[in-house]
């Protein structure tokens, strides 16, 4: 057991692609490796959270280790792009996706997923009496203390939720591009919520009756409902919900540029994306793949309206928002 299970012959192996991703857990990595092997790629994943991948890529800029990165959302990719970590590449399937989801140059969309507010059906049967949109949480007195608010702001889901709320109060003259009212609102959001408990899942708390609602992403909702034996309903606000769109990109300075490009072409292609969707309940962005994709996943994903968010604006300001929330809002 003294050689790594997936390595070829070690460092700089031209056959092996090093891929940074936050979406290869839950068996996705193994599945992909297998498929890739059939297609002639040897893959090695570095499986980290979105923020960690971003930080690692930034720090390694001078001597990149990764060849390809995928799975992060717009915000991260915007920041990576700004730091000139990525390299432009137009995949063979670039015409099959809505290029505006990405930047149309360096990173390209593969999967999209809504980030939602879910409510416990036991408390709000069939959504009865549940809030219709996020602001009701802190404006309607009955909900005070009944919804979970995040305490650690590093998570991708949390950042999407915050972006979804704050983006409504864009004011280029305001602090970090947000109006004073926006800051007051977000303050209320945190003040009236029930802080998340580290190590205890939202669903565990809902099962216990400690809270009745909180943030969740699509796939997470279904696996947890099963685990805790409770059913939930996702709110579908008029303004829409933030979509986390996962992208793929080639890392600037990769030593395996050719293989990386070939991989991206294969990975984002209709065939694999459809298979991925069927396997992992996702909605691909590749329009060609949609037909063969898991229709439930696509349908559910499409049942929400995408919130209109300027992701470049978010990427520019998100760090400032988090800093301000940490310092001045939480407490």
């Amino acid at each position: 057991a003294c050689t790594p299970p997936q390595s070829g012959s070690g460092d700089g192996d031209s056959e092996t692609l090093t891929i940074y991703s936050n979406s290869v857990s839950d068996g996705r990595g193994e599945w992909l490796q297998e498929k890739a092997a059939e297609a002639g790629f040897t893959l090695q994943f570095v499986d980290l959270g979105g923020g960690d991948i971003q930080n690692r890529l930034l720090a390694e800029a001078a001597n990149p280790i990764a060849d390809v990165v995928f799975g992060l959302n717009n915000v991260y990719f915007e920041k990576l792009r700004a730091a000139e970590v990525l390299e432009a590449y137009s995949p063979s399937w670039s015409g099959e996706v809505d290029a505006s989801l990405g930047d149309g140059e360096q990173f390209w969309p593969i999967v999209r997923e809504p980030i939602m507010l879910i409510t416990n059906d036991e408390v709000f049967p069939g959504g009865e009496g549940a809030p219709a949109d996020w602001p009701e949480l802190w404006t309607v007195p009955e909900f005070e203390g009944r919804y979970e608010v995040p305490t650690a702001l590093g998570g991708a889901t949390t950042q999407m939720v915050l972006s979804g709320i704050l983006a409504r109060f864009r004011d280029d003259a305001g602090e970090h591009g947000i109006s004073a009212d926006g800051w007051a609102q977000i303050g209320e959001f945190f003040a009236k919520g029930s802080p998340a408990v580290e190590g205890t899942d939202l669903f565990a708390r809902m099962a216990e009756g400690e809270v009745d609602m909180g943030q969740m992403w699509l796939a997470g909702k279904f696996s947890r409902e099963e685990e805790y034996g409770i059913t939930t309903t996702a709110i579908s606000p008029e303004i829409g919900v933030p979509y986390a769109v996962q992208h793929v990109a080639k890392v600037a300075g990769t030593k395996n540029a050719e293989a990386a490009e070939a991989f991206i072409d294969w990975f984002g292609g209709a065939e694999l994306q459809a298979a991925w969707s069927n396997e992992f309940f996702t909605a691909p962005t590749n329009e060609v793949a949609l037909q063969d994709a898991d229709q439930d996943a696509v349908e559910l994903t499409d049942s929400f309206t995408p919130q209109d968010i300027d992701w470049t604006f978010v990427a520019e300001n998100l760090d400032g928002w988090i800093e301000k929330i940490e310092l001045d809002v939480l407490g």
Partner: protein, 581 residues
């Protein structure tokens, strides 16, 4: 040898302690060509930051007291006094050494939390007690106190073994009560070790993350989570650095005070030949009974949480989160998932290798450095070395690591013009760096307990520095060195924060693997898996401790080399009370 040690220390410190941090600090503070002072204003203006900071300092100070009280008691119960069942007590108290973090909090939650055993008991007997009574400052202090006494158990025990029995006897015989002997004769001799563990405790309090996060409630949040967020947010790193500098000031103040107190004292036995301390009988029957009662009450406090963790690791996520057990709660599925996963073995191999290598390198290297520093305690060189080696304690881990990564992703003259990031070695370097202060501090305490004459005698007999060191000094500091190695090894096994940035793609350690399997962002709720991995880590940690304290290593060594088979009372690690039985 001194010269070589000094040269290596200087090079290593420059390359891996000073430059990376300078690089990072420059990056964060010299943002726009000038020195940025933005961070200070932001922090001072933030009520939350200030109150968190206050809480952290308060916690650190409180723990410095409470942990010493409990820790000293624990050591007395297992090593100093002849209590019944000292071995059991030791094993029970030692459980705090094999687990930590969020799982430990969960363990305490099973006892004291809103649906915990004790809470249910309390609320039945005293209905007015609220379910969530176990929250805030007292709860945090309580849990962290018991969690932090492991250092006492190992290191104070080791120094206790070097006290000259006859000094205790002579004090007794001058009419001093057991209590007076303890307070006036025994404890003062242990001061370097007490100081060292106090520094550890203090830092542990300053950097407390999981416990206050979960148990602190709204009123008692500490600074560490905020620092972590800032350190991970590129544009806010100046805040993290500023906070680090503030904490560093507290730490340096603490170190200065303790170093001052420590200097000039004599902590080795001045007896011609000192006799080893044997456990003292407690004369007063009432005191004896009280001592036993407290000792065993503490045993329950110590053992219940980990016991419940083991128990709950065989249940599903729901039982864990609600703290309730039903007949159908039990499952082996989690273990199956954790152990049968085909790729699961490799991270264990990687982690154990990294931990072992780093633990050995750091202890071996620092043995030389500490010897140098304690040989020339008043030289300027020693002072500088000492403070430089403490850098990793005052920089937040993430920043340290990022500094390394940033610096070494371009060719650096200081390492022969090589690029280190992306190599297998850099993670090992980071591990070594991270363990330096802890190792340094405790080793220093151990060295202060050695009478210089012994070393002199060896050198006159022709022994080289190295030989003297190996055959004379080492056996004397071995108990401490072994304890440090064990703790270092165990603490690196599940490291995530360092590995996340530095791990080579092919050699990713366990921490990353566990985090991936169990993080809140995976689709399935994996809190049950967290328990399973914790239990597996507890098993590894226990094996490590057994190797070192239970005589396991000695047994294995004996098999390997019969020449060393005979163990003298002196080389035996006197930490395990069974040795004295």
């Amino acid at each position: 040898m001194a010269v070589i040690t000094l040269a290596v220390t200087a090079w290593f410190s420059l390359a891996f302690l000073v430059l990376p941090n300078l690089q990072l600090l420059a990056e964060v503070f010299l943002a726009d060509g000038g020195l940025s002072t933005r961070a200070w204003g932001r922090l001072l203006g933030s009520e939350r930051a200030m109150s968190s900071l206050r809480n952290s300092v308060l916690l650190a100070l409180t723990l410095s007291v409470t942990v010493n009280v409990v820790g000293v008691f624990v050591v007395l119960a297992t090593r100093y006094f002849a209590l019944r069942g000292r071995r059991i007590l030791w094993l029970g108290y030692a459980t705090s050494l094999i687990y930590g973090g969020i799982v430990m909090v969960a363990g305490y939650d099973f006892v004291y939390g809103s649906s915990g055993i004790l809470t249910r008991l309390l609320t039945t007997v005293l209905p007015f007690v609220p379910e969530d009574w176990f929250v805030g400052y007292p709860a945090v202090v309580f849990v962290m106190t018991f969690a932090s006494t492991g250092n006492h158990l190992l290191f104070l025990n080791a120094s206790m073994a070097r006290i000259d029995q006859q000094t205790v006897e002579s004090a007794r015989q001058m009419g001093a009560s057991q209590w007076t002997v303890l307070r006036r004769v025994v404890l003062p001799t242990l001061l370097p070790t007490i100081f060292a563990v106090t520094v550890l405790t203090f830092l542990g309090g300053l950097g407390a993350l999981a416990v206050p996060e979960v148990l602190g409630g709204r009123d008692f949040q500490t600074i560490a989570p905020m620092m972590l967020t800032f350190a991970n947010t590129p544009s806010s790193r100046d805040l993290a650095a500023a906070l680090a500098i503030i904490l560093a000031l507290f730490t340096i103040a603490m170190l200065l005070i303790l170093n001052r107190l420590e200097r000039g004292g004599t902590y080795f036995s001045v007896a011609k030949v000192s006799t080893q301390l044997t456990p003292q009988k407690i004369g007063n029957p009432v005191a004896n009974a009280v001592m036993h009662v407290i000792a065993y009450a503490l045993l329950v406090v110590y053992v219940l949480p980990p016991a419940l963790i083991v128990l709950f690791s065989f249940t599903d996520a729901r039982s864990i989160s609600t703290g309730t057990l039903r007949a159908d709660s039990f499952t082996l599925e989690n273990y199956a998932t954790a152990l049968l996963e085909p790729t699961a073995r490799w991270p264990f191999v990687v982690s154990i290798s990294y931990s072992a290598v780093a633990a050995l390198v750091v202890i071996l290297g620092l043995l030389f450095v500490v010897r140098l520093v304690t040989r020339f305690p008043r030289s300027r060189m020693s002072t500088i070395v000492e403070y430089v080696l403490h850098i990793p304690w005052v920089m937040p881990g993430t920043m340290m690591v990022l500094g390394l990564l940033l610096l070494f992703s371009t060719p650096q003259g200081v390492v022969g013009g090589r690029v280190l990031s992306g190599t297998v070695g850099i993670l090992a370097v980071a591990y070594v760096v991270g363990k330096i202060p802890f190792t340094f501090r405790l080793l220093k305490a151990a060295f202060l307990g050695i009478n210089r004459n012994v070393e002199e005698a060896a050198s006159l007999l022709g022994a080289s520095q190295l030989y003297t060191f190996r055959r004379v000094i080492l056996p004397l500091v071995l108990p401490t060195a072994a304890a440090i190695t064990a703790l270092n090894f165990n603490s690196m096994l599940d490291d995530y924060d360092t590995a996340v940035f530095l791990a080579h793609p092919f050699y990713q350690p366990l921490g990353i693997f566990i985090r991936n399997a169990t993080s809140g962002e995976t689709n399935a709720d994996a809190s049950a898996l967290v328990f399973v991995y914790s239990v597996i880590l507890m098993v590894i940690a226990t094996i490590t401790l057994w190797l070192i304290y239970g005589g396991g290593a000695a047994r294995i060594l004996r098999l390997l080399s019969p020449r060393r088979a005979r163990r003298r009372s002196g080389d035996a690690l006197p930490l395990d009370p069974a040795d004295q039985a």
